[in-house]
Amino acid sequence: MIYPDSKIVLEVRGLCATVNGTEILKGLDLTVRRGEVHAIMGPNGSGKSTFSKILAGHSAYEVTGGSVMFEGQNLFDLAPEERARAGVFLAFQYPIEIPGVINSQFLRLTYNTVQTHRGKEELDPLEFDDYVREKMKLLEMSPDFLERSVNEGFSGGEKKRNEILQMAMLDPRLAILDETDSGLDIDALRIVANGVNQLANKDNAIVLVTHYQRLLNYIVPDYVHVMEAGRIIKTGGKELALELESRGYDWVGVEHKAVAGAVA
């Protein structure tokens, strides 16, 4: 929801980045305020996941220009784990499997680490078990997933739920959900979207990366951005997503070029 005079959570200015020498982000601008839900759409390979991972601090990407401020501080001054503790959360498009590491132990470590850094109490294994089971109910997840290795052998949809479970636990300031809807069946989509909606409040912000309107039916965005070739080339309200759904992306690019041409 848009709140007047709400504080800026994320301010991206002219962000440029390369991977292995190839330029992927080419001057990206984005401002996100507390309480808002933003959707980023755009063709495959336009740089949406790259952008998400750069915010989270993945070392494969080199930032070559621009700035990112998170809650008033330079995001790039923080190591990836510090960003997470400060409240940057990324639900991965492809959550990685960690064989041998038991999910419940992993979840407890991440929860307690983040809590400690926020000056809050840790939970012992029993308390945590109660806590996490409660959160799992929200996402209609079976407690069986606690005993399995992290994401190992999880179906696509189960992995996504495990991501949102962590979001629910870690209570982020900024949650970036990279195609959390892909791989979810119709019921799961509703359940996960419901979960996200319950987590959204006036103090945090959510950035949804998605290809489809169907997620936005459940989680209604305040802004919709179109990303192409490493830049946000158009921003609109929730109706822009509907327009993209019916017309595709080509016209946005054409329009953008025309505007750019007129300006030049």
Partner: protein, 478 residues
């Protein structure tokens, strides 16, 4: 390590021979006279001298093995001095005199302060009354008839037992290093559990050898009589230094009917520096003979140190229904090389063996698993399950598996599983994204990878081993 263990560290040998000899170090080189000198210095019985000389004769005819997947410059066996009276490590007066690098290591491993002092060689007698504690402990074992002493003591006090079992599991002619050890071993541990006795506590080498430089050629013999059981711990997680580069120990275990021996090792010898310079060569022969029916020999090892490790704790399953187990974690980093594994020799009927091997290689290191499962014609109903998993950390390390299976009995059942995995940057990034730094992440991944082995270790050891592994791999990822 408890206060008990801790104080026993400072307990001098009852039969220490330091005082009884004039010259401390034998001239370099090995010949029959050197061996006679060792035997004389140690006031050994005639049969032991003969055992040594025969071993020496055998060794002369043997070649150094070249089949292990390890590489090192040729060892000049004539440049080694084969006898020196065990020296007390120099005692330091306070922690200020201890090498800061060593302290940092202890810190990382979470070794308690009083224990750090002991391990670093700071006199701790002022803190505890070590003699009384040591006596309590010895009394407790003596009450149930357990003998636990140095090999030298055993030769003097229990010669008939030593003579009965020494070299029966690993004959001197077994291999090059075993022969060398049999000829020149200077000390080690002896442990005897009488019939029907369950040893009331874990026996640890901590108790005995820590204030002394460990011998270069250690000899250990453990005998569990009918229905006896014992859990024996060797080594410790704190780094062990040695002025000798070559170590060639021999460990023999004998389990009679219904006896049970569990032997756990944490090995953290100096591994050389980051460039691979220096470090111990650890060429060990360990074998257990499950001699009686329903007997069990179980090896658990956590190998983290040494520049080169060459070691195959094995089980000969002679008694019907006997059980052999091998649980191993071997970690190599920098330029370390490890070639380790086990042999399970099934001779008796319905014998069972389990092999769980976890190899972790980081840096430029090389880690090989080498295992043999052999089923003799008479071993009907024999079963083996082997699982060999390798984990690679970084781009430049190597993992190899060499499983050998020889089955001469078609009623046996052999299962072998293997896997290779990697700690990747993306896994670490996932942890980081959830607030967990690389060190904690690696520790969690490694722990998960090794849990089947760690859960075999005594609780305290397991906790220390976990910390040790993370420490060993520190900085090798990401």
């Amino acid at each position: 390590m408890s206060a008990t263990l801790q104080n026993l560290v400072n307990q001098p040998y009852k039969h220490g021979f330091v005082t009884s000899i004039e010259s401390d170090v034998a001239p370099k080189g090995l010949n029959a006279d050197t061996i006679r000198m060792i035997s004389t210095k140690k006031k050994e019985p005639e049969w032991l001298l003969e055992f040594r000389l025969k071993s020496y004769e055998a060794w002369l005819k043997m070649e150094e093995p070249v089949w292990p997947n390890v590489h090192y410059p040729k060892i000049d066996f004539q440049a080694i001095s084969y006898y020196s009276a065990p020296k007390q490590k120099p005692k330091l007066k306070s922690m200020d005199e201890v090498d800061p690098e060593l302290l940092r290591t202890f810190e990382k491993l979470g070794v308690p302060l009083h224990e750090r002092m002991a391990l670093a060689g700071v006199a701790v007698d002022v803190i505890f009354d070590s003699v009384s504690v040591a006596t309590t402990y010895k009394d407790k074992l003596a009450e149930v008839g357990i003998i636990f002493c140095s090999m030298s003591e055993a030769v003097h006090d229990h010669p008939e037992l030593v003579q009965k079992y020494l070299g029966t599991v690993i004959p001197p002619s077994d291999n090059f290093y075993a022969a060398l050890n049999s000829a020149v071993f200077t000390d080690g541990s002896f442990c005897y559990i009488p019939k029907g006795v369950k040893c009331p506590m874990d026996l640890s080498t901590y108790f005995r050898i820590n204030t002394e430089e460990s011998g270069q050629f250690e000899r250990t013999l453990i005998v569990a009589e009918e229905g006896a059981s014992v859990s024996y711990l060797e080594g410790c997680t704190a780094p062990a230094f040695s002025s000798n580069q070559l170590h060639a120990a021999v460990v023999e275990l004998v389990a009679l009917d219904n006896a049970d021996i569990k032997y756990s090792t944490v090995q953290n010898w100096y591994a050389g520096d980051e460039k691979g310079v220096g470090g111990i060569y650890n060429f060990v022969t360990k074998r257990g003979l499950a001699k009686g029916v329903n007997s069990r020999i179980s090896w658990t090892q956590v190998e983290t140190g040494s520049a080169i490790t060459w070691k195959y704790p094995s089980c000969v399953l002679l008694g019907d229904n006997s059980v052999g187990e091998f649980y191993s974690v071997a970690v190599t980093n920098h330029y370390q090389q490890a070639d380790t594994g086990t042999k399970m020799i099934h001779v008796g009927k319905n014998t069972r063996s389990t092999i769980v091997s976890k190899g972790i290689s980081a840096g430029h290191s090389n880690n090989s698993y080498r295992g043999l499962v052999k089923v003799a014609p008479g071993a009907t109903g024999a079963r083996n399950y082997s699982q060999c998993d390798s984990m690679l950390v970084g781009q430049n390390s190597g993992a190899h598996t060499f499983p050998y299976i020889q089955v001469a009995n078609n009623s046996s059942q052999i299962e072998h599983e293997a896997s290779t995995s990697k700690i990747g940057e993306d896994q670490l990034f996932y942890f980081a994204q959830r607030g967990i730094d690389a060190e904690a992440a690696v520790s969690m991944i490694i722990n998960g990878f090794c849990k089947d082995v760690f859960q075999q270790l005594p609780m305290e050891f397991a906790v220390e081993a976990t910390a040790l592994l993370s420490f060993k791999l520190e900085g090798s990822v990401g």
